[in-house]
Symmetry: C2
Subunit: 218 residues, 2 copies
């Protein structure tokens, strides 16, 4: 089976590498990093790169498509790029699962793939997700039909383990979890807006909203 991870300039590295690492650990899965133009892909931090080994034209199909997210407002570039939207639509016709991490769900929405569907995103992007016609749903991993969306950044690891369990079985998923020693122990319990201190949530929300208003400059 083939997993295609769509890259674009301004992406969040962990959104892509979390699921990559899970799928790459399963024997026999082929993972491909794909972008409109192959080569180095700038990260949102502007402090490094990922690498697309293949261009859209070289990847006509995939069993699983993953669309990672990014810091706002970087999602606007792929959301407004006709080639990117058309490639996602074409690939989607061939997939068994079409997925996103973080605000990658906004990009799937822009391609018309989440209309009327329950979906999640980074918690700070629910308003935009709603305005694009999806039904924002507060869960770590949301499945509707073959669309699977994950919450912010790190949630792609949980989503990928879930997909491995559905597709390859619970044993395989557990052995991947064991190999990656994914026994998370964050030093704090502040990973969701329900758990973090309210003033901090408000401050981050305002910051993300302000960023989302800007134009991407990559």
């Amino acid at each position: 089976m083939k997993v295609a991870i769509m890259l674009y300039d301004g992406i969040t590295a962990l959104d892509a590498i979390g699921p990559y690492e899970v799928f790459a650990t399963v024997e026999g899965i082929q993972v491909e990093f794909v972008a409109k133009k192959k080569g180095l892909i700038k990260l949102d931090s502007k402090m490094g790169y990922l690498h697309a080994d293949l261009s859209f034209s070289e990847v006509p199909s995939a069993d699983i498509l993953i669309v990672p997210g990014c810091r706002p407002p970087n999602f606007k570039a792929p959301m407004n790029d006709e080639d990117t939207l058309q490639w996602m639509q074409r690939i989607h016709e061939t997939t068994k699962w079409t997925t996103s991490v973080c605000n990658g769900s906004l990009i799937l929405s822009a391609a018309g793939l989440l209309k009327g569907a329950k979906a999640t995103s980074h918690w700070g992007s629910f308003d935009i997700l709603n305005s694009l016609g999806a039904i924002p749903t507060e869960e770590r991993v949301v499945r509707q039909g073959k669309m699977v969306t994950a919450a912010g950044v790190s949630s792609g690891i949980d989503m990928a383990l879930q997909l491995v369990a559905w597709e390859w079985g619970e044993d395989i998923s557990q052995s991947v979890q064991l190999l990656l020693e994914y026994d998370p122990m964050p030093p704090f319990d502040a990973g969701s807006p329900q758990k973090a201190p309210a003033p901090m949530v408000e401050q981050v929300k305002v910051m993300l909203k302000e960023l989302a208003k800007q134009e991407p400059h990559l």
Copy 2:
């Protein structure tokens, strides 16, 4: 402050990108990807690349050094490379924290930086860690003086959040956790040898030991 992440061919991507994402989310931290030779760095899966923006000779110091791990036997190449060991030793003299993820601690040990120190590694590498003179310690994140070692692969996220809390304060660490929506919900509880089914642990252990005996071919 500057965080240097050491890359090498055959590396595990998530070992590097987990901590990267945490540090890159803190305002004002400069993260640098460094390798013996800059350019594309092959991943252990042979299905993609990271990118080193700087070579050893361009990075004479760092506040935090991170040495990521890899699938066995890939650690043998950096452990036997004199330039790599000497660079780590030189950088270590300038750091406030010298750290590793997964069996990156074997590479730190080869550089003589964990002699007699409590340290951790991937759970499958404790024998090798012990044979190199460190004191294997079953914790997610182990701190001895300025040496901080993390357990397997995904633990680098927890370690980086812990370091951010020590160095920049708990508020900053919590806001990074919130931004990355790091509220982990793995579908299973099989992420450590204590929690996974015993026959699965045994099987993975044997596989890792067999791999560790081989010579790296990258």
